[in-house]
């Protein structure tokens, strides 16, 4: 299987701080793999995901995502890559002036799908994340966990080749969490997506093989 993500001695840091959040990370994630990333609060998990979707350019070293050299990627290519990712943000990043349904199909809007397809897909996804009947509400009228599930639904709306999920169950009870984990398993197992999930709690029951990376003190190591 080809690499979907591969790094070589990659170092990540934010512009203003000299502090290196991630130092000399070298790893590979292959197509169709399921990866959990854990680590203490503030260790750099979200930062690592940011580098995967091109929001943060590595200070040093190499990073290749979906065949693109992320240290030197054109705007056009980055845009194209992003339309093929399914990103779940820790702070959801929903558009509050849009209805839930419209938020969910934003990737379809960007890809230029017609309205009919948008609506069909919206209804299907609302059912998947157990938000039937809430499509016409606005994000601020939803509970925290409901907003989080909207974020999940949006990430899955265009069957991405790579899913980057940042704490997708942080605000969910056990039942809802399991719904989300099932969706993730399915995306990986049935649809062949590569999935990278940041979480504080790896689910106790998980039905497909996975890898587990731990970030600590700037280093990344894999648990075997």
């Amino acid at each position: 299987m080809p690499n979907v993500i591969s790094t070589n001695r990659m170092t990540l840091a934010y512009d203003k701080g000299e502090k290196e959040i991630i130092r000399n990370a070298t790893f590979r994630i292959k197509k169709g793999e399921f990866v959990f990333i854990t680590g203490p609060s503030g260790s750099g998990k979200s930062t690592l995901l940011k580098s995967f979707y091109g929001q943060l350019v590595p200070k040093k070293g190499d990073l290749v995502v979906g065949g693109l050299d992320m240290t030197n990627v054109s705007k056009k290519n980055l845009q194209k890559l992003r339309t093929h990712l399914g990103i779940i943000f820790q702070d959801y990043k929903l558009i509050n002036e849009w209805t839930v349904a419209k938020n969910i199909v934003l990737p379809l809007i960007i890809a230029g799908y017609n309205v009919d397809m948008q609506q069909t897909q919206a209804q299907r996804l609302l059912k998947h994340v157990k938000l039937e009947g809430k499509g016409d509400m606005y994000p601020l009228q939803l509970s925290g966990g409901e907003q989080q599930r909207v974020g999940v639904a949006r990430a899955l709306s265009k069957t991405p080749f790579l899913i980057l999920a940042d704490e997708p169950t942080g605000n969910l009870d056990e039942y809802s969490s399991n719904v989300i984990w099932d969706l993730m398993e399915n995306a990986c197992d049935q649809l062949g997506a590569t999935v990278v999930v940041v979480t504080h709690r790896i689910p106790t029951i998980f039905n497909i093989p996975y890898r587990h990376f731990i970030i600590e003190n700037g280093g990344i190591h894999e648990v075997h």
Binding site: Y53, Q55, L56, R82, H84, K93, I95, W98
Partner: protein, 272 residues
Amino acid sequence: MKSIKHHLMFILPLLAILLGVESFMVFGRVTASYGENLKKAYTILVVTRKPMTPEAFRKIDNNIDRVETIKRRSIVEQIAQGMSNISTQEILKSLPQFYTVKLNRYLSNAQIDVIKQHLIRDPNVRRVETFGQAHNANYNLYMLIRAALWMFVGFMVFTSLFLVVKQMEIWQLEHRERMQVMEILGASAMLRSGVLFRIALTDALIAALTTIGVFAFLRYGWVARSEIDLLMRKQDLFFQYKDILILLGIALVIVLVSVVLVSRNVKEVRDV
């Protein structure tokens, strides 16, 4: 409801700008036309010993345009009427020549005084009358109007600029979140600011058409019934067809610049 309010919030400032632009153009045309009238109306009265040709006058000062001989007979006849024992002919013979001299530019009092000096230096010229008082008032007023016009333009440019800047700030604040989310999900710049472009273009069109409507109404409605004869005589100054193009052009430029700046500015915020 909310969307109407949103549109109005952009249409109204645009309207302010366009009304300002059109007012400025109208005002400029009326003043120019008035200056023309003043120039035409102003005459210098010259009394000479012997008859003089227009060319002779123009040689004396090149600001002189047309020269007219005053028919003395009617004046003299009026005087002669009251005096039984002298003939019109007799008076006429003893009277000097009278000319009204027109200028080719509208000049200040000081400049007219120079012309007067030029004329007086000529040995044939007996007397020069320049109607300084009335002219001075007119000239001052003309200058005042022009000063006011420029003040008006200055104020207009200043506030219009600010209205646009403010509108951009508002757009930026309102759409920042949406644009950032869309960018991070791979939307092109065009798609991200598509809504803005659409809103802005319709609003620009509405504002321009309203302005055109207002001034067309002024021209065909208000001016025609106004008491100001100068305006009534110069209706066509009030609204001309080329104004439509100018107004539409300005509205479009403002709108496009605003939208492009907004989407560029939002994009620069990297860490969402």
